[in-house]
């Protein structure tokens, strides 16, 4: 019965209900088709997930938001959010990015969350999954901490740079290693670091520009000319690796961070 259901993750192509009544129906259909995750009397997820879900619901109530409104604000699927709040998800269905997006939508950094859905020490770490020539970057809890800090800082003015895990992608000519990746809003790595640039940093505008930057190598040499696609949430960008092996995507919307994928251009 569950064969036709997509994998349950924040960005899965779940139904997108337009009203609270539609959401209730989708939740009922989803739970009925998929079954309940737990084996205990409650048949829900582990206690950490149940407690986190109840806390998320209480924080949503405090914010005066319905499930659909909060899901929109967090860029999560409303069905996913409903299952999360009801403790009907298991740890593998609770990536750190979903927790971070929810925290930001509730106006909290990750350190301000009263609890997390993970046992202490079991918070997700950075991970890369390869599928059909694409590499999906699943940022861990620690990597997302500065992102959530920046998203909740006054006027979003906090300066931040987050390291991305290395990725290896292949095309007809062999493997390309994309490493030393960063997403951030500090002075652009390709900008000259002269005094003028530093003054710009100190007097940074209220909403700093974000970028993704990395080095691309093929057989240890700059992979000059290789085209790389970045998919970040609903954003799709292409950039060509320069002669120094640098790869740069400018002006990305940091809020729209999930899913985060890289692929070689065609």
């Amino acid at each position: 019965m569950t064969r036709d259901l997509p994998a349950l993750e924040p960005s899965a192509a779940l139904p997108r209900p337009a009203s609270d009544q539609e959401l209730t129906l989708e939740v009922a259909r989803w739970l009925s088709a998929r079954g309940l995750p737990g084996a205990g009397p409650g048949r829900r997820g582990p206690a950490e997930a149940v407690v986190f879900g109840e806390m998320a619901r209480a924080m949503r109530a405090r914010a005066g938001l319905g499930r659909i409104a909060l899901a929109r604000r967090a860029r999560l699927n409303p069905v996913y959010l409903a299952l999360l709040e009801m403790g009907a998800l298991v740890p593998g269905e609770l990536p750190a990015v979903a927790v971070a997006m929810l925290a930001v939508a509730l106006g909290r950094s990750l350190d301000e969350l009263p609890t997390t859905p993970y046992a202490p020490g079991a918070e997700p770490r950075d991970e890369v999954r390869h599928l059909s020539g694409r590499a999906r970057l699943l940022l861990g809890f620690a990597s997302l901490r500065p992102w959530a800090d920046a998203m909740t800082a006054p006027a979003r003015a906090a300066a931040v740079s987050i390291s991305l895990p290395d990725v290896v992608l292949s095309d007809g000519e062999g493997a390309v290693r994309i490493g030393a990746g960063q997403i951030g809003n500090l002075v652009t790595p390709t900008s000259p670091s002269d005094e003028y640039a530093w003054r710009l940093v100190r007097e940074a505008p209220a909403a700093p520009r974000w970028w993704v930057h990395a080095h691309a190598l093929r057989s240890g040499r700059p992979a000059a000319g290789v085209e790389v696609e970045l998919r970040m949430g609903g954003q799709r960008r292409w950039s060509r690796v320069d002669d120094r092996g640098e790869l740069h995507f400018a002006d990305v919307d940091p809020e729209d961070i999930e899913p985060l994928e890289l692929a070689l251009g065609r």
């Binding site: 959401l23 739970l31 009925s32 409650g42 806390m55 403790g87 350190d111 009263p114």
Partner: protein, 223 residues
């Protein structure tokens, strides 16, 4: 299918118990239930669908654990009972809150109407510092629970979740807060007895106070 279709609901109840309810089952069931929260939770329309979603989950839990027997009643009757109970829980919580805070300030907001942007920023910063301090202490308690095999932090969080979400920290001193979740509900969520939930929660509160006091003695600032 309407309210009077008892025979049809009896057949659908058997289908539901066997896990093979037809596609029309859920829309029809929800249509049957929808008037209930609307009548019981008047003036709180934003909660109606939350209650129904929770009822769906409880219904599926009842089926999964073999607690639904279609020969003893229809699925609509059980679902209606669940919805009524959920509504009653919410009304009771609302009454508790009203009786404890007859004239409550908006939670977590600056109480001084004359406060300017600077005061608001200080208020906001202080709130964030307290949230971090609490979260840090809870993580320490969770870590200790992991070693001891207890669930003190979880019981405490469930019991005082409304206060925590509202940045109301008075329960750390007195154990009382604007809205306290009954031990029975805490126990249900954790799959333990009400007495075990009470013991874990009470011990958790004492341990949390000790952790916070130790943090203060060491002069630790939240990370």
């Amino acid at each position: 299918m309407g309210v009077g279709d008892g025979g049809a609901w009896a057949a659908w109840s058997r289908d539901f118990a066997d896990g093979r309810e037809p596609g029309a089952f859920w829309p029809a069931l929800l249509d049957e239930l929808r008037p209930l929260p609307a009548a019981l939770l008047r003036g709180r329309p934003h909660e109606w669908e939350d209650v129904l979603q929770e009822a769906v989950l409880s219904l599926l839990e009842a089926r999964a654990s073999g607690r639904f027997d279609p020969s003893r009643g229809t699925v609509t009757a059980l679902a209606a009972t669940i919805v009524r109970r959920r509504c009653a829980d919410r009304l009771r919580a609302e009454r508790d809150r009203a009786s404890r805070h007859p004239v409550a300030d908006p939670p977590g907001e600056a109480a001084d109407p004359g406060a300017g942007p600077e005061e608001a920023m200080i208020e906001s910063e202080s709130r964030r510092v307290w949230r971090r301090r609490f979260a840090q202490a809870i993580r320490e308690l969770e870590r200790q629970d992991g070693l001891r095999g207890s669930c003190r932090a979880q019981a405490l969080l469930l019991r005082h979740r409304e206060a925590i979400a509202n940045d109301e920290w008075s329960f750390l001193r007195s154990g009382r807060s604007g809205e306290i979740v009954p031990w029975k509900e805490v126990a249900e969520r954790l799959g333990i007895s009400a007495e075990a939930a009470r013991q874990n929660g009470s011990r958790g509160l004492r341990a949390l106070r000790d952790i916070l006091a130790a943090q203060a003695d060491r002069g630790e600032e939240p990370e």
